[in-house]
Every structure is written in C-alpha cells, then in structure tokens.
C-alpha cells in the first residue's frame, strides 16, 4: 500500500496513494462486518473477527475495494 506521502527516491515525485478502502465480510451472503479504512492501517492489517455462530457448511466471503476501484473477493466454506 502507499499512503500518498512517500516520494519516489529517484524522481522526487510523490507516489500516488494506493490502499484498500473497504473490506466486507459476509456470512452466507449477508453482510456481517464492514471496515472502512485509510492510510493509517498497516501494510498487512492482519484482521481478526469473531462471529457469534457459524455452522458447518456456512460460506464466509471477504471482499474488498481499493481507492482505484479495483475489487476482489475470496470465499471460504466452513468445515470441520
């Protein structure tokens, strides 16, 4: 991630900000947690969340969007 205040060591230009703006956690397609954030989060924010009840076979989805509107997501089916 880039917070927008660092300079390129060679050109001296500011490096444009690039970071994740929003993270959404869904349980079986229902949003349970949303995190809005900016440049004060660490490069690897290493989040932990706890849900009250999760059963075998439930689907957990994490999706995120950055300040350049790039999106991605990952699914996980709870097992064991």
């Amino acid at each position: 991630m880039e917070n927008g205040r660092n300079r390129d060591p060679i050109s001296g230009e500011l490096i444009p900000a690039h970071f994740i703006e929003e993270l959404t956690i869904k349980l079986n397609d229902t949003t349970v947690i949303t995190v809005d954030m900016a440049g004060s989060m660490a490069k690897n924010p290493f989040f932990t969340f706890r849900l009250k009840s999760v059963a075998n076979g439930d689907k957990i989805t994490a999706s995120w969007i950055d300040n350049r509107q790039q999106i991605d997501s990952v699914d996980y089916i709870v097992a064991g």
Binding site: N3, E22, V35, M41, F49, R50, Q69
Partner: protein, 155 residues
C-alpha cells in the same frame, strides 16, 4: 442480423457489465457512503468533531484495549479491541497524531462479536483512541503508545 460471434460477444459483455455493477454496488453497502473528509488529513480533534459533532463521549472500562506500551516499529502496531457491551454497532480507531488520524471504522452487525484485531501505523508516540457506538450512545477508551521508529514513511 448480427453475425453469431458478435451477438455472443454483446450478450456476454452485457452480462459482465451487469455483474460488475452489481458487485460494485453490493460491496459498497457498508458504511453507506464513505465520507472522505472523515479519513482526510487533519487534526484528530477536527476529525472527532466531523464524526461526532459535540456529542459527549464517556470513558468506559468495559472496552478492553490491548496495545503495546512501546512499539519498536510504528509501521506495524497490533491492536486488539474487545468488549462485553451489548449492541455495539460501530467501532472507530483514531490515532491522535497521525497525519490521517482516523484509521478505521468497523461496522458490526448483530452476528459479529465485539472482538477485533488489526495492525495500525503510527507516525509518533501518541494516544490511540477507540470509540464504540451503542445505538445513540458513545463510549471511548484510549491508551498511550510510545513509538520508537515512526511508521508513516514506510509505505
């Protein structure tokens, strides 16, 4: 009539656009419209005013904060927030002397427990303030963290 391949292309591309739009809008469902000025570069007190106007925020010792007393590296400062308070629907993390003091806003549904860990960046030694919202009420807890090496110039 369009050649078959072109028709398939059009059909397919329409589907992509619709999927992309749907994903975009559903993903943006959280903290409604991200309010850019909350995450802007300003004094922490100004950000607090923007977030909560002049509402009173009382200290509550049922918000448990776990942060290092001394952070060797300001680029990676672990934080754990937990609370037994009921019906907490939002958690704010503010780092008083960071260029962008508001680090994150967590929006929790009733399915989520109030137990969060994350890693924040700290430019210099200061207080880390956690504010929780319980419906209309606001509570806070804070802790001073000594930062040995500031973390804002490290990307």
């Amino acid at each position: 009539m369009l050649p078959l391949r072109r028709r398939i292309f059009f059909k397919q591309s329409t589907k992509w656009v619709i999927t992309a739009l749907a994903t975009f809008f559903s993903i943006r469902s959280g903290y409604a419209d991200r309010i850019t000025e909350h995450f802007a570069s300003a004094q922490a007190s100004d950000i607090m005013t923007r977030l909560f106007a002049d509402r009173s925020i009382s200290y509550n010792d049922r918000i448990n904060l776990s942060l290092p007393k001394i952070a060797e590296n300001g680029a990676v400062v672990p934080i754990t927030i937990s609370s037994e308070l009921d019906a907490i629907d939002r958690v704010y993390i503010l780092i008083e002397r960071n260029p962008t003091p508001l680090a994150a806003v967590f929006e929790l549904s009733s399915e989520a427990m109030v137990y969060l860990t994350a890693r924040i960046k700290m430019a210099e030694s200061c207080n880390v303030v956690v504010i929780v919202r319980q419906g209309e009420r606001l509570f806070k807890a804070q802790q001073w963290v000594n930062v040995v090496m500031g973390g804002c110039g490290t990307g």
